[in-house]
Symmetry: C2
Subunit: 343 residues, 2 copies
DNA sequence: AATAGCACTCATCATGGCAGAGTGCTAAAA
DNA sequence: TTTTAGCACTCTGCCATGATGAGTGCTATT
């Protein structure tokens, strides 16, 4: 896996990768020699390029085109070559402004974050909300909408809100619901949502409760309310990837869009980033997701006040502006962590 | 605007429109004569087609290609020719299943509806949530998340939930918040959200309240909570329009995606459907939205129990399967209305 | 070890010819 | 008068052709 390269080879590889990132066109030997004002002639560059190709770092689409970096090259570039740019003051300002002012609850903030990531990177921004189940329970409440229709509202200490429409067998007064709420709130205080769910199931077994109609109803309703919906994922800036020349072919784009619509796959991939700290980078087929050829992911986790973990990042072509995007993702993750941890 | 056509011309126009809808290719005179087993020869059809072209109902991309329906033709087709198909039992089943079982609150139902519309039509499904402001207030609640961080939850009688993160100047106990909630709930009972907002502003003027710290704080917080966010719009099945051959050109697709991402324009268009009852159809440039060339919208409003109005529909190419989609939109709108009106 | 030179390869573009689909017009048939 | 058949014409799509140019690999030279 590890690649040993002379100083010169590294310079040339870097030049090729950056040129290709900028232009999306195969880069030829003379272009490298000229543009980067290196002190080698194009012939020398050609020799080096031939080596690099042999090592699997470059390919050429055909005999007499320039060379294109392989995934391996991007990997090497990202690991040892890339000069990360600083996040500019203006960018910071923009990130802060958007993430901060998004008024409405956790989802609002995360949605805005995802949009900001997309705007600044010019690729697709993505945010996976912290896992609700591992978050700490804060409040449950039932609101009567109609005779037998009840809205259950579940709040976690992150400010995540889940609401669910329930049908009950019998009529209930708002007063009944209030008492049920009080009971359940004390029952689940301090637990995580997952634990709370366990607790409810336990209590349902508990004989004593089976005879108290009130209790048993309360437990039944809350059991439904606490059952967690699928992961919440925010994707913004899908249209931007239409701008990338490598996706001008409709077929490939369709794959990506499909993948994004069925968020399942995506989440699976992103969950891998959960464990590791710092910015993670998946290049092309490194990500297990089946159809991810030509696509890279730059992601980082963020943590909330109650120590649950979410993920945020950018999806773009492998030919991505790594030197820009990596710092942006990093900065944003830190910022969001801080915002969500403020008491 | 009105077009007078002989029986024969109508038959031929219908054949052309339907052929073109099916194949997306210019249809020639012999194809019409053959495929629809009409009793005319291709020569006759040619004569008629020349007439129709003169009337602005057909165009040909070049001299010796077949003809393509114009927007005017689609309009005529939709108004006077189309034979609406029945919604099949299977489709009904599917719509009911999806819209019903979507567990989680109003947004859940609407999101699922939009997805179902997309699946059944094979185009893009879209739903605009009922205007929160005109809906009846049901409940407000404040939950303390941190020292100075409060989550405000606002519920309408439709089961729509809006939550918003607030920062307060001073610390507040959960008990303070509870009392504030009780006060505000009684203050706003039975009003629409818009009226409730008015009421709050009134009360803030009221001198008596300015000296009661509790009250004035409550009013300040609730004022923020009641301020309504932008319209909620659910769009699903964007990837499906990639399948349409007329959008294989990337440029046009980009326009559409852009339009969908900035939901503003879209909402504006859809709001026009608010007033009229029944299924509305906008073909191509009939919709004021600037870049809507080649795109049609089939939409219908739906009403909730508290008589607020939302909109749902399908967006696709002008060359859309009107005979299928119109009944589906119609049926779905009725069903959603019924579901949301059930007490 | 680095470079210059040269023959070679391959994509791209414009050209021209050919087949096929479809039209418009005219003259004949109903 | 309406419908149909026939025919010349037009235009696209496809293929083969050849010229151009970018870029390579190899070899000989510095």
């Amino acid at each position: 896996m590890d690649v040993e390269l002379s100083q010169r080879s590294r310079q040339i590889l870097e030049a090729i990768v950056e040129d290709y990132i900028a232009t999306a066109e195969p880069v030829g030997s003379s272009a490298v020699a000229r543009r980067h004002s290196l002190s080698f002639s194009s012939a020398t560059v050609r020799n080096v390029m031939a080596n690099l190709e042999e090592m699997g770092l470059l390919t050429s689409p055909h005999t007499s085109a320039g060379r294109i970096p392989t995934e391996k090259a991007y990997r090497f570039y990202v690991d040892s070559l890339v000069a990360l740019r600083q996040v500019t003051r203006e960018e910071k300002r923009q990130i802060i402004r958007h993430c901060r002012t998004a008024g409405s609850g956790l989802s609002g903030i995360l949605k805005e974050t995802s949009r900001t990531l997309s705007t600044l990177s010019n690729y697709m921004g993505i945010v996976v909300a912290p896992r609700f189940t591992t978050d700490v329970f804060r409040h449950i409440e039932f609101i009567r909408l109609g005779n037998r229709r009840i809205l259950a509202i579940l709040v976690s200490s992150n400010g995540a809100v889940q609401n669910r429409l329930l049908e009950t067998g019998e009529d209930m007064t708002q007063d009944d619901l209030l008492r049920m709420g009080t009971y359940l709130n004390s029952l689940m205080e301090g637990l995580t949502i997952a634990e709370a769910r366990q607790r409810i199931l336990q209590e349902m077994q508990n004989e004593k409760n089976q005879y108290d109609q009130m209790m048993s109803r309360a437990l039944m309703l809350s059991e439904q309310a606490v059952t967690v919906e699928s992961e919440e994922v925010f994707v913004e800036g899908q249209a931007r990837i239409l701008d990338q020349p490598e996706f001008s072919d409709v077929g490939r784009m369709r794959e990506i869009f499909r993948a994004v619509e069925h968020k399942g796959q995506l989440v699976q991939l992103l969950n891998q980033c959960m464990t590791a700290e710092g910015v993670q980078i998946y290049i092309g087929s490194e990500s297990p997701g089946s159809s991810s050829a030509g696509v890279s992911l730059i992601a980082s986790r963020f943590v909330t006040g109650s120590n649950t973990v979410g993920i945020l990042g950018v999806i773009g072509p492998t030919r991505m502006g790594y030197s820009n995007v990596i710092p942006i993702v990093d900065y944003t993750a830190r910022l969001v962590s801080r915002i969500l941890s403020e008491q």
